[in-house]
């Protein structure tokens, strides 16, 4: 499978970002490169602190202005640098072109207003529709989310709904302005598996029918494998590996990706020790030179003292590991 050929909606190149803190700058991103094309579902996987949310928040300029600073690299969102947009232009991009679904649906809804009012407000802010048309559009969106009595839910307050129902409302809101790109940041992590399965299939079907691209942020490799066309594996604010989901899972190239998959229970016989990734994440206040994974890597050697580039290692596959890069070159 070759790289999808749609328009590039988001392009992040070599992005480095620090958070200024009283203990010094935390180097949250150390050269992240990724892109998202129209209509595809892209997964960003990694453990906590790897920079997956920070990358996407930087792309939509949601990070606090005072503490977050881009130190290198750049972002192109629909051809513009989000850092240079005016507040008004940014509102247009965020509502009309990109929308975000967060992990905690309760925090994303206004607790004092009815569900219907909140959806209609968003629709009317970005589209020329009267109240009646916006209401019927909202009801249609809720119905698409398999909500059985959308008229009743429109009248409800967020606290009256279950977590899974709230998340479905937020997905309906995210699709309401027909954005080109939706960023879903761990949207099912707080939910039970049966509800998660429903939400994932709703996102997948709705995205396919509207042609919307989705960036799906998750720590769960299995979830990403079911949903995403391509994936990026992040480690310590850097892309370790990228490629089509099927090819990465069939033959993970970076030692970190391999370890992430192998440490899941179920791949060894019951009661046998699981493969573990030794050590801990590097301290991002003072990250080591060279490959950031080398202290935990079983394959590390002299070459790893230099930072490995994210290089092509096959058709639509890239990995930031010297060993893989050399194997590719010698092959």
């Amino acid at each position: 499978m070759s790289e999808p050929s749609g328009d590039v909606l988001l392009e992040i190149s070599d992005l480095s970002l620090v958070f200024r803190t009283s203990r010094g700058p935390i180097k949250a991103l150390n050269g992240v490169s990724l892109n998202v094309r129209a209509g595809e579902i892209v997964g960003i996987v990694g453990e906590s602190g790897c920079g997956k949310s920070v990358t996407m928040m930087a792309a939509t300029r949601l990070l606090p202005k005072g503490s977050a600073h881009i130190t290198a690299g750049g972002i192109r969102l629909f051809g513009n640098d989000p850092m240079k947009l005016s507040e008004r232009e940014l509102q247009h991009v965020r509502g009309k072109l990109v929308s975000t679904i967060f992990q905690e649906p309760m925090n994303a809804l206004n607790p004092t207003r009815r569900i219907g009012e909140q959806i209609v407000e968003i629709i009317r802010r970005h589209q020329r529709l009267d109240a009646k048309a916006a209401t019927s559009k909202a009801i249609g969106l809720l119905r698409d989310m398999l909500i059985s009595e959308p008229e009743r839910i429109m009248q409800a307050y967020p606290f009256e709904l279950s977590g899974g129902m709230r998340q479905r409302v937020l997905i309906a809101m995210a699709f309401s302005c027909e954005p080109k790109l939706i960023i879903a940041d761990e949207p099912t992590t707080a939910l039970d598996v049966t509800v998660q399965a429903l939400i994932l299939s709703l996102i997948k079907h709705k995205a396919a029918s509207t042609g919307t691209a989705v960036v799906f942020i998750s720590h769960d490799m299995a979830v990403v494998s079911q949903l995403c066309d391509r994936l990026y594996v992040l480690y310590a604010g850097r892309v370790a590996e990228a490629g089509t989901t099927a090819s990465v899972l069939a033959a993970p190239a970076h030692p970190y990706t391999r370890a992430l998959i192998r440490c899941l229970p179920g791949l060894v016989a019951p009661k046998q020790p699981l493969e573990q990734i030794l050590g801990t994440l590097p301290d991002l206040l003072d990250p080591p030179a060279g490959c950031l994974f080398k202290a935990r890597c079983r394959e590390a050697d002299e070459r790893c003292k230099a930072v490995p580039p994210l290089a092509a290692i096959g058709a639509a596959r890239r990995a930031a590991c010297w060993r893989r890069i050399e194997e590719t070159q010698s092959a």
Partner: protein, 334 residues
């Protein structure tokens, strides 16, 4: 006469009185008649979705919540103060289960401190010993919880539970707050401690693959009842109860594309007023005549018990069981 099992839970019921609301109080029926036993060195996994009563069940075993009916017995006798130390618990979030103001040696030996009669020197020595047994370094005992990562904090919590030499640990989502790479470390630690010390575990988790890896037997809970119980691989690889199948079909797996939208993927009914008949009837894809009757947990095949008349044939209606299937591609090729 056979020796009584290490832990036996008999017809356990836990109801909470909720006093808020306009019409006075109402009861939350958290656990509704649960029975199972755990042998020495054995692990039983309790799986189910949030609100199914699995955490309340764990707390009732510990004595952290009052029992409304039924009994929790340790080696055949009801749990009393003297036996309380025999059962310890590991919570999900080691951040909130460790007092941030105490050094690690005090945290680990807190149960001994409460028991009394030890000098500080003795406590520190014991703490270092326990710290080493859970994979920490002896010098770690002088530090404070904030100096440790999530995985290390969970090791401290495990060391504390081991301080009083318990026979059984209740593990309430022991790895859910941890990253996958750290989860593997804690799972390995729990498995090796069990082998060394002949510990019994009650592993409460929503993570079916974790339970499959660690537990000898599994009980699937729905609305405060066990709906299916039996040897782990029997139950998880060839589920009988319609709820067990619904739950397992929803677990994301590498070898399977996303299931198409489940038509009846509803949510748990309210546990304020329990449904009549089978609790799962409203969501059940195979609901039929007979499901309006209360369902009993009865032996199905081998060591398995199922609470569904369609499976156990109590009302003369059977259905073919689905064929066993591998949970991961490696199982199929192995």
């Amino acid at each position: 006469m056979t020796e009584p099992p290490l832990l036996s839970v008999e017809d356990l019921e836990v109801r909470y009185r909720v006093t808020s609301g306009w019409f006075g109080g109402s009861d939350v029926h958290a656990v509704n008649g649960v029975s199972f036993s755990v042998a020495e060195g054995e692990t039983i996994g309790i799986v189910g979705e949030s609100g199914c009563g699995k955490t309340t069940l764990g707390q009732a075993i510990l004595g952290l919540t009052d029992i409304s009916a039924g009994a929790v017995k340790l080696r055949g006798t009801e749990r009393d103060r003297a036996r309380r130390t025999q059962i310890q618990i590991i919570f999900q979030d080691p951040q909130s289960s460790l007092d941030p103001r105490l050094p690690v040696w005090r945290l680990i030996t807190e149960p001994l401190h409460i028991r009394g009669g030890y000098a500080n020197k003795q406590l520190i020595d014991r703490a270092s010993e326990l710290a080493v047994s859970v994979g920490l370094r002896p010098e770690h005992v002088d530090r404070y919880p904030h100096e440790f990562s999530g995985g290390q904090r969970q090791r401290i919590a495990i060391a504390r539970a081991l301080a009083v030499e318990p026979a059984l640990l209740v593990l309430d989502e022991p790895t859910s707050a941890l990253d996958v790479s750290v989860q593997a470390q804690i799972v390995n630690l729990l498995l090796s401690l069990q082998a060394q010390r002949k510990l019994s575990y009650v592993l409460i988790s929503h993570d079916v693959s974790l339970v499959r890896h660690v537990a000898d037997r599994v009980a699937v809970m729905y609305l405060g009842q066990i709906v299916e119980e039996g040897p782990t691989l029997d139950v998880l690889d060839a589920p009988s109860h319609p709820y067990t199948r619904t739950l397992l079909d929803a677990v994301p797996r590498f070898d399977r594309p996303l299931a198409s939208i489940a038509p009846r993927a509803g949510e748990l009914p309210s546990n304020r007023t329990l449904p009549t008949g089978c609790f799962f009837r409203e969501r059940c894809p195979s609901a039929t005549a007979g499901c309006e009757q209360p369902q009993l947990l009865v032996a199905a095949d081998g060591l398995r018990k199922v609470r569904c008349h369609l499976v156990t044939n109590v009302h003369g209606m059977g259905r073919p069981r689905s064929a066993p299937r591998p949970a991961f591609p490696s199982d199929a090729t192995a």
